[in-house]
């Protein structure tokens, strides 16, 4: 059997394998060729002439259309579609990482707010005459409100001054988003106002954590604490922060 006849045999087989890719068809052709060569070699060893051995080997393979129909069952279209769609989707999704990787900064910011908020680039760098580091945390829905510092500037009379609260909020889920619309009220001696009415000297951050500074909260010696509350969406939180009058000389 000439190479042309063997090729024709393979072509007739492959014509029935409708959903094989070119690469798969090449592999099938190579396998069919290998089978026929092996059989022909065995017949040659048995004493047949080369041409007769090749012809017998080809006929021993069987009907090419039947072979093709059987092989076609091993190459269903559905798996091919799933394979290619999965590959394309994976590549496309991974390609978006080129544009979305900055979002990982949200997670880093969230973790930093948990561990060392004062070191964050989003934290206010305002300075006060008297400062005290704190770690007061409260749950507000899916977020944590953390007050990490209180500041105090005293007026000349020594009896009055302005306090400031440094705080941040982050989601309980380090990969989640935190609220950027906290409805906080702040005050002393029972007089509460929206935190935004004070000199909100600083508000910065990203979806991982927001840092705020509520400044110029008027206090007197009799005000032992500044109160911060949140009362929205059925959640109520009240935090008291001691004013560091004892540090005032």
């Amino acid at each position: 059997m000439s190479a042309m006849e063997r090729q024709e045999f393979c072509d007739r087989v492959l014509a029935k394998v409708r959903h094989a890719t070119p690469k798969e068809k090449t592999a099938i052709r190579a396998e069919l060729d290998a089978h026929m060569e092996d059989h022909a070699a065995a017949l040659l060893e048995a004493g047949y002439e080369e041409a007769e051995a090749a012809e017998r080997a080809m006929y021993a393979m069987g009907d090419p259309e039947e072979i093709g129909a059987e092989l076609n069952k091993d190459y269903p279209l559905g798996w091919l579609v799933l394979s290619r769609v999965s590959l394309i989707l994976t590549v496309l999704i991974c390609a978006t990482f080129l544009f979305s990787w900055p979002k990982l900064g949200n997670t880093l910011n969230s973790l930093q707010a948990r561990i060392a908020p004062e070191t964050s680039g989003f934290a206010s760098t305002a300075k006060y005459t008297y400062e005290r580091d704190l770690d007061i945390r409260a749950e507000i829905g899916g977020d944590i409100l953390r007050i990490y510092k209180v500041g105090l500037d005293v007026n000349r009379d020594g009896e009055t001054g302005n306090a400031a609260l440094f705080f941040c909020n982050y989601s309980k889920n380090p990969f989640g988003y935190t609220a950027d619309l906290m409805y906080l009220e702040c005050g002393t001696s029972g007089i509460m106002e929206s935190a935004r009415n004070y000199d909100c000297g600083w508000c910065s951050g990203n979806a991982g954590a927001y840092y705020s500074l509520v400044a110029k909260i008027p206090v007197t010696r009799t005000d032992n604490a500044v109160v911060l509350t949140d009362d929205h969406f059925g959640k109520y939180v009240r935090l008291e922060v001691s004013v560091p009058w004892e540090d005032v000389t």
């Binding site: 798969e24 798996w79 394979s83 999965s86 994976t90 999704i93 978006t96 619309l181 969406f233 059925g234």
Partner: protein, 228 residues
């Protein structure tokens, strides 16, 4: 010892497809968890919930936006109603931003607010009233917008009237949610126009007024002292 060659397992098409599908699924999960890509509009709504601080809300209705890649979602829970504008960006997915937030924790049988959205393409403002109520007697809503009388620039602008019939209602968990809107074009000299206060009147089946409420834009409506 004679080494036996281990026959290499040929990967079938099925195995290859399943392997790639599993990898794809793994990438989907990782990107979702890390919020690197939002694959569905509801993930955008979750983002909006987190930013607004409302807690998890449940879908009431969704509406098509002004563009092909925009959708508006009305969601709610026991203590809040949230309106979210979700926009699709091919490189980032569905991004959700809260556009209307109503705190309902104080209770009441009528919980509603008004919103104003800017439509830059049409150079107009969408005036929206949305909320929920319990009354089965209410069959319609009529809202009228009022302008800041002190501002000469907007004194001559027409009133905004929003009327809603049965098509505006969605029922869920004993509440009847509504979402109705009207469009207010810019003035002739290109100034934006929007009402600063709205008056809402609930109507019965015959169109008779039942009760009146008033509220500033983005604030909750409160009943007018004397019901009509």
């Amino acid at each position: 010892m004679k080494k036996t060659k281990r026959k290499k397992n040929i990967e079938t098409r099925k195995h290859k497809a399943l392997r790639r599908a599993l990898i794809c699924l793994g990438v989907l999960v990782i990107f979702s968890v890390l919020h690197l890509y939002t694959f569905t509009p509801m993930q955008g709504v979750r983002q909006s919930e987190a930013e607004a601080g409302t807690g998890q809300t449940y879908l009431i209705r969704h509406m098509g936006g002004e563009k092909w890649n925009e959708r508006d979602y009305m969601t709610a829970n026991e203590n809040a109603i949230l309106i979210t504008r979700v926009t699709f960006y091919p490189l980032l997915g569905w991004s959700g931003r809260p556009f209307g937030i109503l705190d309902c924790a104080d209770g009441g049988d009528f919980q509603a607010t008004s919103l104003v959205w800017r439509n830059y393409d049409d150079k107009a403002n969408r005036c929206i009233i949305c909320g929920r109520l319990r009354s089965r007697e209410v069959m319609g809503i009529r809202a009228e917008g009022h302008w800041d009388e002190e501002s000469e620039k907007i004194r001559t602008l027409p009133e905004v009237t929003i009327s809603g019939g049965p098509e505006i209602w969605t029922e869920k968990d004993g509440w009847r949610y509504f979402f109705a809107e009207s469009t207010v074009p810019d003035t002739e000299n290109g100034e934006m126009a929007y009402p600063t206060e709205m008056t809402v009147t609930t109507l019965d089946k015959a169109g008779n007024p039942l009760r009146q409420y008033k509220g500033s834009t983005y604030e909750r409506f409160i009943p007018v002292d004397e019901p009509q």
